[in-house]
Subunit: 111 residues, 2 copies
Amino acid sequence: MRKRTYSCGLDAAVDIVGGKWKALILWALHHEPRRFGELKRSVPGISEKMLIQMLREMEAHGLVHREVYHQVPPKVEYSLTEFGQSLNTALIPLGVWGEENMRAIEAIPRD
Amino acid sequence: MRKRTYSCGLDAAVDIVGGKWKALILWALHHEPRRFGELKRSVPGISEKMLIQMLREMEAHGLVHREVYHQVPPKVEYSLTEFGQSLNTALIPLGVWGEENMRAIEAIPRD
DNA sequence: CGGCATGCTTACCAAAAGGTATGTACCCGA
DNA sequence: TCGGGTACATACCTTTTGGTAAGCATGCCG
């Protein structure tokens, strides 16, 4: 989130979904609400710091909902809001594209 | 481009389209091939350095085609490959989402 | 009492992304 | 000879992003 005006819708969407992790977290929440630890396990490679940071931003952006259960040990559940759902839906074709072309993408030489 | 394996298609797609500019450049090339200067004008805010850097990467990734015309003054045209077209198509819903929600996105307080 | 589990939080650091400014090479027309 | 237009390249710097490691609060279980 850095701009106040966008040149087009894609510009705005990229700004929201930007970074390496948010799309993956959204994806992981697609089917059901998840706890912190579950999310960490279902987004391989993410650090706790990044996960929290992204969750907090996404909460502030109205994409996810955070529900705290006052238990011991503590339990916190994250779920998609309507807004988050709609973004997730818009990401589906991109996910499909990625799956269809994963071989080609993996074959790209990285310097 | 940093990984060799992806946890899902979205992961791979985000890796390719990553950053602030590539999606916008792809978008700008959607309808017709464009020259360097035209692109610069149609992606507001981008610096020449970033534009070249992104174009080079996208060429290396097989998303765009670069055609040099040996003229004076020089002319270089960039166009989408089939691969680039397919990615662009997958980005359409995201662009639509961004347009529909642009007001909401702009209203998000930053920090 | 001590260890474990959960869900964070903090400090510190490295790498990548991005921006500004300037320079290059070419030829043309004034 | 000078400036302008095209398409870059390069150096330098700042900001953003991401990673590691450690610590904290809580209460249960043995």
